[in-house]
């Protein structure tokens, strides 16, 4: 069991059968009352947050949650198949867990998979991925003012809006959180 002195960002606890992680905490103490730790938790299953004041001496139950570094192998229908490089164990998770970023996933992409009671509950991608442009109309000369962008298809098949100067064969950096082009990078 954890007590309030164990509370820190990232601590995983079990409450009402759900896994929660601490995202913020602060020591508070009324002049004549017990010390509390004002803690903000995020539900690891649905992303909801809640704030609780946990009194010194109260116990928190650790959640059986662990993180594993895994490599993305391939898509299979609506699922993503990932593999643990250390023991070659494979896991299949719903692509919904990564949302729109699923189409930015290239083979062998390193991901972090969160397990709760041995069940994969979340996949996080690197913030940035590097992808080659496989198709894009050439930009129209002269039309370079402001932030004019054009669609481009990258090697995974995803469509990303890019600046006009991007050409087929360019390598670009894409933000997996926003699905947006960041910059062109050298190959």
């Amino acid at each position: 069991m954890y007590d309030t002195s164990d509370i820190r960002k990232g601590l995983k606890v079990l409450m009402d059968g759900n896994p929660w992680t601490v995202i913020e905490f602060q020591f508070v103490k009324p002049g004549k009352g017990a010390a509390f730790t004002r803690t903000v938790f995020k539900n690891l299953l649905n992303g909801k947050t809640k704030e609780m004041n946990i009194r010194s001496g109260e116990k928190l139950e650790p959640a059986n949650v662990d993180q594993r570094e895994m490599q993305f192998l391939y898509k299979e229908g609506g699922d993503l198949v990932l593999m643990d490089q250390t023991n070659y164990e494979q896991v299949s998770v719903s692509a919904d867990m990564v949302g729109k970023a699923a189409d930015l996933m290239k083979d062998n992409l390193p991901c972090t998979v969160l397990f709760f009671n041995e069940r994969a509950i979340d996949v996080s991608l690197p913030t940035f991925v590097f992808l080659e442009v496989t198709a894009s109309e050439p930009g129209v000369r002269g039309d370079t003012s402001g932030n004019v962008q054009k669609p481009a298809t990258v090697e995974t098949g995803a469509e990303v809006m890019v600046p006009l100067f991007i050409r087929v064969g360019d390598m670009i950096k894409v933000d997996t959180r926003t699905h947006e082009y960041v910059e062109r990078v050298a190959k």
């Binding site: 002195s5 020591f27 017990a34 509390f36």
Partner: protein
């Protein structure tokens, strides 16, 4: 490389450091090479030990100067009102017995968590108006508003009631903030708060009713209060003690509401289970003569119409000790000399403890207590 401080430069050389007079164009914190400033000091981050600039950042130095101003203003304030400044021992055999305070052991005794026992003995000995500014120590208290070692201002008025202490508090805070900031405008969490007296007041029962939706009487059982808190929609465990149920609701709803107020608040008439060392109201035995002062949600001070009855005092000490034992907390000896002084006769009096560091935070706009300390514990 040189680091400049108050007209002097600290020359860091292979054979040790030396202080030399610096040209007037150099400002504290600048890094210089030869005669030239190579990096003007921006003042935010603490460079930390082992850095090239083995010194405090400019902002921290400004806060230390503000502290000194605040302290001078405070001493002037009490001198004008004929208070005697006293210094009682910091190392004592019997620290406070309060259930929620842990003392720091030192030598054969403890460091004080508050100077009140010895100050009350001075009152019993015949002093009528005394004040003290001293360090107090409370184990395991670290947070944005808490440091284990902090500075307390404590004062007492004999033959006076809480009304006089409320006036002192309002005037003192306004006086210190004005001395430091130029006007009675405190600044906290990016807001300016007018601290000119008089301050609005509210009873604890009204605050709990209005903001938490919890009716508090003071003579209900813990189970009844827990039920009332749960009815108000606040999640708490069933077996909570009365005070823990109260403070869970208070922290969840009342404190945030006080934080949002535009003016300071005197929160008065505490229910008797939270009386601590306060007398009961003569006309209302469920209510204690106690108030707390808040500015911008920061709890600045706690005051009591002091308990002077040695029999009731001993019984409250014994209750505290029993609870400490039950909860597995450290058990401190009862201060028999304080009880003896009460038995000799403590005049009717009122007193208050005020967190000096927090007043400096308000006067300087510092967001956390560590910004107004010369060094924080991790920096030692």
């Amino acid at each position: 490389m040189l680091a400049v401080d108050g007209g002097f430069a600290l020359v860091r050389g292979e054979r040790g450091d030396a202080r030399v007079a610096a040209p007037p164009a150099w400002r504290a914190g600048d890094l210089v090479d030869g005669d030239e400033v190579v990096r003007a000091y921006s003042g935010e981050e603490y460079p930390g030990p082992g850095s090239e600039v083995a010194r405090l950042p400019g902002q921290r130095m400004a806060a230390i100067r503000s502290r000194a101003k605040a302290l001078a203003a405070l001493r002037g304030f009490f001198a004008e009102r004929d208070f005697v400044e006293v210094e009682t021992p910091l190392l004592v055999p019997s620290p406070g017995l309060e259930i929620h305070l842990e003392a720091v052991p030192a030598g054969t005794g403890y460091l004080i968590t508050s100077p009140e026992y010895q100050m009350k003995r001075l009152l019993a000995a015949g002093f009528e108006q005394i004040y003290q500014v001293c360090k107090c120590f409370r184990a395991n208290e670290h947070g944005p508003h808490h440091a284990s070692e902090f500075t307390m201002v404590e004062w007492y008025r004999g033959y006076a009631d809480l009304e006089a202490i409320i006036r002192d508090t309002e005037e003192l805070v306004a006086h210190i903030v004005t001395a430091v900031a130029g006007q009675p405008l405190a600044s906290y969490a990016g807001r300016a708060i007018n601290v000119a007296p008089p301050w609005p007041r509210m009873t604890v029962r009204d605050a709990m009713q209005q903001w938490a939706g919890v009716e508090v009487h003071g003579d209900e059982s813990a189970a009844d209060l827990v039920a009332a808190v749960r009815r108000a929609g606040i999640e708490i465990a069933e077996d909570l003690a009365w005070d823990d149920a109260f403070f869970t609701a208070f922290l969840a709803r009342v404190e945030p509401a006080i934080t949002a107020l535009e003016r300071p608040l005197i929160l008065e008439d505490w229910p008797v289970p939270l009386a601590a060392l306060a007398r009961r109201k003569p006309d209302d035995p469920r209510t204690a003569l106690r108030f707390e002062a808040y500015v911008g949600g920061l709890e600045l001070a706690n005051a009591f119409g002091e308990l002077t009855d040695p029999v009731e005092q001993r019984s409250r000490f014994e209750d505290d000790l029993r609870i400490r034992r039950e909860r597995g907390k450290a058990v401190y000896p009862i201060d028999d000399k304080l009880l003896a002084a009460l038995a000799e006769g403590l005049p009717p009096c009122a007193g208050i403890a005020l967190g000096f560091d927090r007043v400096v935070m308000l006067a300087t706009g510092a967001p956390t207590i560590e910004k107004v300390l010369s060094f924080t514990a991790p920096e030692l």
